[in-house]
């Protein structure tokens, strides 16, 4: 894996200067490589990882299992893209196993999410069935633990 991608995937706010030093490249080279990644769609965006439970924002999320009937010539692509277009949908995955698509959906309340599923998602032509699982608590997200504040137990100095 490219060191630049590794570093940015862990902390997108690193200064280009620091990324460059750690990758063993010049700042100009690094900037050019990052621009190239952005242009080629390798880097899709830079997000903060937020524990919304600690904010004012009301947020309810659910993982929706969706069974669909794939379309001739389009497979799952068309319906997956349709599902992805909704603002309520954070992520969509094509799955192996017991169902076809998994969507992560968010809303302000349980009712809002339920309403989205019953009014917007289920009625879609290719959707055969859905199964909604609400998220009760987040323990880890994008590699960041939400639950335990780990302290460095090593002390401040040793030989």
């Amino acid at each position: 894996m490219d060191v630049i991608l590794k570093l940015l995937s862990e902390n997108a706010r690193l200064k280009t200067k620091d990324v460059a030093v750690m990758a063993g490249k010049t700042e100009e080279e690094t900037r050019a490589i990052m621009a190239e990644y952005e242009k080629a769609g390798v880097i899709k965006g830079y997000h903060a990882i937020i524990d919304w439970e600690k904010t004012e924002r009301q947020l309810v999320r659910a993982i929706i299992e969706i069974n669909v009937s794939p379309k001739r010539d389009h497979g799952f692509e068309e319906i997956a893209e349709r599902v992805a277009r909704f603002n309520e949908v954070e992520s969509v995955y094509l799955m192996s196993g017991g169902y076809d698509l998994a969507a992560i959906v968010s809303g302000k309340t349980f009712q809002e999410v339920a309403k989205f599923v019953s009014h917007k998602l289920s009625p879609l032509e290719s959707v055969l069935s859905t199964s909604t699982h609400f998220v009760l608590r987040t323990y880890k997200e994008s590699g960041v633990a939400f639950c335990d504040d780990e302290t460095d137990e090593r002390g401040n100095a040793s030989l």
Partner: protein
């Protein structure tokens, strides 16, 4: 009234209490410290290794092992040393599992030295070689490493130091505290110099896996050197297993056989749980080592650039997880620098003098910390330098 002073061993009483102790006590008790002071990995032992230790406890494997260590562990260590460093040792007679690298160092020096013998100790270096030598009644002979050689040991440094009483040369590379590494081209002239001398090289290679821009070369690999070298290695640094206290010594059976006696009577055997965990480590965790090394490598570049930018001249270390910046430009001694930095900015680094007199003018900075932690510390060091 009991007179302890009459009872205690003169050799032990004469050991200098580590001068650094007071500083460490202050640093370790202070709150809000952004430390760059520790000498151990920030990673946790990879889970599969911890799991192997836990499993051995579940199975009730809580007895002693063979004195020299579990036979399977010794076989796997032999396979690992061959695979990684092209070293061939016979598991039954040439490998002994020890309580950390430290025990191996102590046992080796004790196996070699009588009263008045001499041990060559390159400085700055880890703190145990000197006292272990003194406890045998032997004489530590410091060999000052030079900044202009990036703190590598050259045969010129040894010129005139070898006497009929010289028993051993300590070769502590990759080096704590400097991060210096001896590459093959550095080792070869040294081996040429040593080959016709009747002395043993105690090669402390505990940081061998933390070698950057190339792989570690053991002096024991060079022609004619295996028979005159005892290699000390272990699990602490490479697998982030400091607390498990497990290392090993490899060398000629004539020496390992004598070290074995000391180990047998003083220690019995290394911790059994740790030995079972270590089998998993040497067998299946080359990938884990590589991942940690890559992480250290990135931090190494960040912190070296950071200190150089602050005007504290730092050569790029090639091993371990320390940099050794020169602080002479501040006009402070190492001790003053560290104390002032700790009190004014709450950043802990270790004075170079903790590793021998030749560490004066330098400080040891550890980068076994997260990138964010290192960056915060760098900001504080910058503020400190401005305040001078």
């Amino acid at each position: 009234m009991i007179r302890y002073d009459d009872l205690l061993s003169g050799r032990v009483k004469d050991l200098k209490p580590s001068g650094i102790r007071k500083f460490f006590d202050v640093a370790n008790e202070m709150d809000g410290v952004i430390s760059l002071g520790v000498g151990e990995p920030d990673f946790k032992t990879p889970w599969s290794i911890r799991e192997a230790g836990i499993y051995s406890l579940e199975k009730g494997r809580t007895w002693y092992t063979a004195n020299a260590g579990l036979p399977e562990l010794r076989r796997e260590i032999a396979a690992y040393l061959d695979r990684r460093f092209h070293l061939q040792y016979e598991p039954k007679t040439e490998i002994m599992v020890t309580v950390g690298g430290s025990e191996g160092i102590d046992a080796c020096i004790r196996a070699l030295c009588d009263e008045g013998d001499e041990v060559l100790i390159p400085e700055p270096c880890f703190v145990s070689y000197d006292p272990c030598t003194r406890l045998c009644g032997a004489v530590p002979v410091p060999v000052r490493l030079k900044a202009e050689n990036q703190f590598k040991l050259t045969s010129a440094d040894l010129e005139g130091k070898i006497t009929p009483r010289t028993k051993a040369l300590i070769l502590p590379f990759p080096n704590n505290p400097t991060g210096a590494v001896m590459r093959r081209e550095d080792l070869e002239p040294l081996a040429d110099f040593l080959r016709d001398k009747n002395i043993i090289v105690l090669s402390d290679e505990i940081y061998s896996e933390l070698t950057y821009d190339g792989t570690h070369v053991s002096i024991a690999e060079l022609p004619g050197m295996k028979e005159r070298t005892v290699v000390i290695n272990g699990f602490s640094k490479s697998y982030a297993m400091t607390g498990w206290r497990l290392g090993y010594a490899c060398g000629p059976r004539e020496i390992i056989g004598q070290m074995y006696k000391i180990h047998q009577f003083a220690i019995m055997c290394a911790p059994t749980t740790s030995q079972f965990a270590a089998i998993e480590a040497v067998k299946n965790c080359d990938g884990e080592i590589a991942a940690m090394r890559e992480e250290y490598d990135m931090r190494r570049r960040l912190i070296t650039a950071g200190f150089n930018e602050l005007g504290l001249e730092t050569f790029t270390p090639e091993g371990a997880f320390y940099i050794f910046p020169c602080i002479k430009s501040t006009g402070l001694t190492s001790d003053e620098f560290c104390e002032k930095l700790l009190y004014s900015q709450r950043v802990a680094v270790v004075p170079g003098t903790a590793f021998g007199e030749s560490g004066e003018g330098y400080v040891r900075v550890s980068y076994s910390y997260s990138v964010d932690h290192i960056k915060t510390a760098l900001e504080r060091v910058a503020q400190f330098l401005e305040s001078l």
